[in-house]
């Protein structure tokens, strides 16, 4: 067996057998699913809660707008004073008392509405009440001004713009959101992967330094081999963890849904709402068909190939830098100074992905940053679902791979010298000097 595969095997097994790794692998999906379940369950309870609201309408204008719903019962009070109503509501442990005073202002419309309750009422209840009263009063005012409500309703127009490219490809807002989700997930996955497993590589390099085993190892293998072995072994462990998370997560999700009957869709993500908004007012059947055809029209093969290539080269680029940092310092507290310049482009890439690519996937900013090697993996992955010319992808990938080769060379230089340096934390100037050693 050659050295590289030995090193990969050891790195992989040590990572996978590590107790905290095992705990993280098993517990993370359980905790996340449990959290989602709790939130879903709570919002379900919240929605199911029955409440009674008493209404004391002294003006008599709006008392007929309060219709009982599944969760809310309105109890319209008549001919009692506010004080009596308050004691009554409190004694019956009702949710609250809505009081509409008799006083009128110049506009002949009442201006004093109050809600009395034990605890501060929920925002949605108040908003609901407000809109009910508002609507009724608007109607009254419209009537007073001589406008017919039915005519106004009829004059309302509803517009959804159908999108089609010059080549005849139909797109929709919902489709764009779907593309965004694909790109976003891919880019975010890469970001997380780099942060979690890059750090793991760095720690494992530091561990070899602090345990002083490095010189024993390095007398048998080349530093380059050791570094690559570490990166590959740790990445394989990371992929294992990700796959376990995925499988365990889906199983748990199914179990939780079926056993507790909690509908996970109760917890709506903003994206889902966006899709729903975009879809509202359209024939859902046709919409679904359009979405499907758009999904099929997405450059799936391109997406998969690009994902694999950009993911691997982007990850290797960053992890070699992490390895170099690990080699340059003695302990984890010293890493901060060197981590910042690595994290900055990474975070920048994610921000550009979220704010700029959504706005304009082929604009100048998005395009430029999808070529710059340190940001290109994330930004390009987010752009590709919107259709990026192949030449751009190839150029960006070539730049990325070129930089990757350079950083591995650079990292190996630092690594080679750094692993045998103890004590003082090196400055950037010294790091540059090491390259010439």
């Amino acid at each position: 067996m050659n050295h590289l595969s030995l090193i990969i095997k050891r790195e992989y097994l040590t990572k996978v057998k590590n107790k905290s790794f095992l705990v993280m692998t098993i517990l993370s999906p359980i905790i996340i699913i449990a959290l989602i379940a709790v939130v879903a369950y709570l919002s379900q309870i919240n929605n199911d809660k029955k409440r009674t609201i008493s209404v004391l309408d002294e003006s008599g204008l709006v008392k007929d707008v309060f219709e009982n719903t599944e969760n809310t019962t309105y109890n319209v009070l008549n001919n009692i004073t506010l004080e009596t109503a308050k004691t009554l509501v409190e004694a019956n442990e009702e949710y609250g008392l809505l009081h509409i005073s008799e006083e009128k202002n110049n506009d002949e419309t009442l201006n004093l509405v109050k809600f009395y309750s034990n605890d501060s009422p929920s925002l949605s209840v108040i908003t609901g009440l407000e809109s009910k009263i508002e609507k009724k009063l608007t109607d009254i005012k419209l009537l007073q001004n001589g406008l017919d409500i039915e005519t106004i309703k009829e004059s309302k127009a509803n517009i959804t713009i159908d999108q089609e490219s010059f080549t005849g490809e139909k797109t929709s807002k919902a489709g764009s959101i779907m593309k965004l989700a694909f790109g976003g997930i891919a880019g975010y996955l890469l970001f997380m992967f780099i942060i979690i497993y890059g750090n793991m590589i760095m720690r494992s390099v530091i561990e070899e330094k602090t345990s002083r085993i490095i010189e024993i190892i390095i007398s048998s293998v080349k530093p380059m081999q050791l570094m690559l072995g570490k990166i590959i072994g740790t990445s394989l462990a990371g992929i294992t963890q990700f796959v376990i998370w995925l499988i365990l997560g889906s199983i748990l999700m199914m179990v939780v849904t079926s056993i507790f009957g909690i509908d996970m869709t109760q917890v709506q993500s903003p994206q889902q709402e966006l899709v729903q908004q975009a879809m509202s007012g359209q024939d859902t059947q046709a919409q679904a068909q359009l979405l499907y055809s758009e999904f099929m029209n997405m450059p799936i093969l391109n997406l998969i190939i690009a994902f694999v290539l950009f993911f691997i080269s982007g990850y290797l680029l960053y992890s070699s830098l992490y390895a170099a940092i690990g080699a340059a310092v003695d302990n984890e507290t010293d890493t901060q100074q060197f981590l910042l310049p690595i994290l900055m482009p990474l975070i920048l890439a994610v921000y550009i992905g979220i704010f700029t690519v959504i706005e304009d996937p082929h604009g100048t900013v998005s395009t430029v940053f999808s070529f710059i090697p340190l940001t290109s993996p994330v930004v390009m992955l987010m752009r590709i679902p919107f259709g990026v010319p192949i030449w751009q992808q190839v150029v960006s990938l070539l730049l990325l791979v070129g930089t990757f080769v350079f950083t591995v060379w650079f990292a190996a230089k630092i690594y080679r010298v750094g692993i045998l340096m103890y004590g003082k934390k090196p400055s950037y100037k010294e790091l540059i000097k090491w390259i010439r050693y």
Binding site: M1, H3, L6, I7, R10, T14, N18, E207, E208, S211, R212, I213, E215, I216, I217, I218, S219, S220, V221, K222, L420, Y422, K433, R436, Y437
Partner: protein, 308 residues
């Protein structure tokens, strides 16, 4: 005696710092070669160059008649001064891993490890983690890993640090046994008493330069001062001391004896022989002690380095 390892005018710079300046050494096959020098003299750099951890700027290293190449890794066993093991890995697994990195097959490595673990009476450590062992215990395992692949050349950098006297002796005997079985040993240390005990040849480095090398006996012969340590009892010791200091160059001496005799170091000039001195002394009193002063490795070390 054939030469196993030869370094020819090796130089190495780290930036502006000169770590090695034109250093040449030759290590005879089957010898124990002491690589000596004060801290920062360049010993570790030279050793790392021999191990192909760092490359020399100029100069070459020849092992067994061939310029150093990656395949030579399996011919060298290296116990660095800064040494440790993976803390959370089990002893057996770790030893197997390191042995395989040196090119042994897994089964071969296992058999040899079993043999060595029994030999050093550490067989029941196989499933322990390094963090459960003491420093000395971990050192024993590092020693086993270093010699396991039976390399032609063994390099020990401060091998005895961290060992108690019993284990240090055990390791010393193992090193001698390995030498007797045909291995060549390069031995770097500050401890001059172990140099006396073990080394056949030495090279002394100071401030990146080699300032002395050769067979230890020859070097001692070079450094001897023709001085004899003398213990003698006479009727009047003070009078005798005065008399002797007029005739020879004398220095006060202190060595442990049972009697209350006159103790002196007497340096002979070229015209006198030891016999002349002895026969002269016997006429003056009762001679209880007469030894030629042989310079110790420590004396040579201090003298050469401070002269440099």
């Amino acid at each position: 005696m054939s030469i196993l390892l030869e370094a020819n005018s090796v130089s190495k710079n780290f930036g502006d710092f000169k770590a090695l300046n034109n250093v040449s050494i030759s290590v005879p096959e089957g010898s124990i070669f002491g690589l000596l020098g004060p801290n920062g003299a360049g010993k570790t750099t030279l050793i790392r160059i021999i191990n192909q951890i760092t490359m020399p700027d100029t100069g070459s290293v020849i092992l067994d008649g061939e310029a150093l190449k990656p395949e030579h890794i399996k011919d060298i066993g290296y116990l660095p001064e800064e040494r440790g093991l993976y803390k959370s890995m089990k002893v057996g697994e770790q030893a197997l891993y390191l042995a395989q990195l040196k090119g042994l097959s897994k089964t071969e490595a296992k058999t040899r490890l079993k043999y060595w673990f029994e030999r050093l009476e550490i067989g029941d450590w196989w499933n322990k983690k390094i963090q459960e062992l003491s420093k000395g215990m971990a050192q024993k395992i590092q020693f086993v890993v270093t010699v396991l692949h039976e390399p032609k050349l063994l390099i020990f950098d401060e091998p005895f640090s961290g060992f108690d006297p019993i284990n240090a002796n055990l390791i010393k005997d193992e090193i001698l046994r390995l030498r007797d079985n045909g291995a060549t040993v390069i031995f770097s240390t500050h401890r001059m008493e172990s140099v006396e005990e073990l080394c056949d040849h030495i090279a002394l480095l100071d401030k990146s330069n080699k300032i002395l090398d050769g067979n230890l006996q020859d070097i001692k012969r070079q450094f001897k001062t023709n001085t004899y340590e003398v213990g003698i009892s006479a009727a009047d010791n003070n009078k005798l001391a005065l008399e002797l200091s007029n005739k020879f160059e004398t220095f006060p001496s202190s060595f442990k004896t049972l009697n209350d005799e006159l103790k002196l170091n007497i340096k002979l000039t070229d015209s006198n022989s030891a016999n002349d001195l002895l026969s002269y002394l016997t006429t003056k009193g009762q001679v209880s002690h007469f030894v030629e002063l042989i310079p110790s490795a420590s004396d040579i070390f201090i003298k050469t380095v401070s002269n440099n």
